[in-house]
């Protein structure tokens, strides 16, 4: 037969050649997958420290942080609300699926990839090519008023704005974004608008009840 029964444990090659002598206890058979965290026999060598290591570490973390803020970090668009609310007009702009937040060179990309480029937020720095001088002056004045108005807003939204302004190119826009024009018309400072939704989904209904 094949060595079943008699002479059990024989193998096709000479076991001694590999170094397992006769009568040596073989390690017990493995009945389960190896443990997830096997015991460390030796500690790993310490990481090389020094200026180079420190600097590269800082660079790495900085890069990670920076890339999350760039428009290349694609976020899913905000889900549609159940009802269109009046306050939606005045909310800080959230990601939108149907627009891309930066302006690639479309000549270098396949045509099928082209989607609308979103012009981010207010305070467009490059005025449109003026058709008439009068129109330009008015726009300039409006812009000056705008910019003065903006100063009153909170620090955080201002930083966001300036960050986005930096990212914008000075190139001509293909399509106007409606949000802009609405925002320019308002007299109210947008950050003051609080639609009270942060207090819970049914805040409107429970307004009269006592709070315990």
């Amino acid at each position: 037969g094949r060595g079943r029964g008699r002479g059990r444990g024989q193998m096709t090659f000479n076991v001694e050649a590999v170094g397992i002598g006769k009568g040596d206890a073989l390690p017990p058979p493995t009945l389960q997958p190896s443990p997830l965290f096997p015991a460390l026999e030796r500690r790993a060598a310490p990481l090389p420290g020094g200026e180079e290591g420190e600097y590269m570490l800082a660079l790495k973390q900085e890069l990670r942080r920076a890339m999350r803020g760039l428009p290349y970090f694609v976020k899913p668009g905000a889900p549609r609300r159940d009802i269109e609310r009046y306050s939606d007009k005045y909310q800080l702009s959230s990601p939108v699926d149907s627009a891309i937040d930066w302006n690639p060179d479309w000549r270098r990309l396949p045509r099928e990839l082209k989607i609308r480029v979103r012009r981010l937020r207010k305070g467009r720095t490059a005025p449109l090519v003026p058709k008439q001088h009068v129109a330009l002056d008015k726009e300039e004045t409006i812009k000056k008023l705008e910019s003065l108005e903006k100063k009153e807003e909170e620090v955080t939204s201002e930083e966001e704005e300036e960050k986005e302004e930096e990212e914008e190119g000075k190139e001509e826009e293909e399509e106007e974004y409606d949000e802009e024009e609405h925002e320019e018309e308002t007299d109210y400072v947008l950050s003051y608008f609080d639609n009270g939704e942060s207090f819970g989904p049914d805040s409107d209904d429970n307004g009269d009840e006592a709070v315990y």
Binding site: V18, M56, Y72, D105, L148
Partner: protein, 542 residues
Amino acid sequence: MTQAELRLCSLLLQEHFGEIVEKVGNSLLRTGPRPLRLLVGDTGLLPDQVKKALCVLIQHNLVRYEVQPRGSVEYEARSERILRILRYPRYIYTAKTLYGDPGELLVEELLLHGHLSMSCAVAKVADRLTETMEDGKTMDYSEVSSTFVRLADTHFIQRCPMVPESPQSAKAPPPPAPALAIAEKDMYIVPRLNLVGKGKRRHSCDEEEEGEHKAKRQKQEGGTSETPPDDGIYWQVNLERFHQHFRDQALVSAVASRMDQTSSEVVRTMLRMSEVTTASGASHTQPLSSNEIFRSLPAGYNIGKQVLDQYLALLADDPLEFVGKSGDSGGGTYTVSILWGGTWPYRAPPSPVQHPSLIPLLLHRFGSRCARIFRLLLRKKHLEQKQVEDFAMIPAKEAKDMLYRMLSENLVSLQEIPKTPDHAPSRTFYLYTVNVMAAARMLLHRCYKSVANLMERRQHEMRENKRLLEKSQRVEAILASMQATGAEAAQLHEVEEMITGPERQQLETLKRNVNKIDASENQVDETIFVLESFIESTMKKP
């Protein structure tokens, strides 16, 4: 692609570009090149989201596209390029050591944005440098431009393939995607630009004035900056050149550790002279005459011509064959062999060069004795069980145990040599041997797995402490705004107290752990580089 590589690519994409891009990249990596509509179907994302993701990936050279004969466009992910994201800090740091702050920021901006035009890059970097300067000072464009030119001259950055100047024929419809191409000779030509200007600060002390001035300035520049003069010419980082630099560095340090500082300087000089003349895959540099080398030595090294010749002779005679003598003209011409382990293992057997001594370092995990056995096997190629014990001077039982463990990890393999045609086990030699390529590949696979594990662990740590992190960020924001409005020390102290002692400790521990993990990732990437270079260069050998 191995599972380990796929997983690592996935994590890198997700960490740097978000989940949408990760999903698209993943789909391309796992299933291969496909057109847009299949991608949309596969990922379950909205078409616009997929388009955005593809734009981002193409911008960063992580995906390429090709027009198929039927007219559809297929997209293909470049896995090896995605893995390079891990090495970005090293590229940036190298640029800093070579070209200072402007160089560092230029390379960083190019990596962050994928590719940029020269005018754009210079403007961004000038702005960033201005931010760091004292009030009232600005960085001039010319300094940044000159650094840019130097980077291009030494091939660290290169031009991207360009859109062809197609003669527009009215009848033929434009192709669905442009065929980008660039000639080798054009890759490093910097366009003649007259970039005049200074960096601008984002915040200035007098904000109201700034607002008005900004509006006026934009109006003036609005007319001229419609199309920048270098429109259509984009630049990207030349990763291969950086890799070449890393290899050179490693070679120089190997020579330094084997011989002395001066000989390493000689080799460094030779490499520097051949930087741009050596093709990226070449096994040797161009021959350099010793006269040329003598002239190019750095100013500080006052060694005589004869001394230099002696050094060169020593280097050429060294069994590791870093330097080879290739002729006698001009006082003797020499080349540097830049293949990893240049002459090993196919020519006359010298002892293993630098990289295989890396592997014993990795075997630290198994112990220094295992490393000794491994080095022995590398040197002697095939050894019997008994011979291993004898040469390595390790007791039999230990040696058997170690060999067996290495065998189970596939670092070492058994070679059968039968004495009789019937391959009877008792009459066959069993020799231990090292298959270097297999071992290198296995280790590389392990490295990818390690980095992926490290990243996952790091993300886990951040997720676990998310609440605490957010709280500390809020507190810092409050502190900053309070300090800006001039609050008293007592009030500031009160706000600081919002984070309790134990919480502070928790944050400290978190920071320490994350730093350790990040540093480890950098470290593993160094190993990945060595192994990848080795495998690549060995496969190229005729």
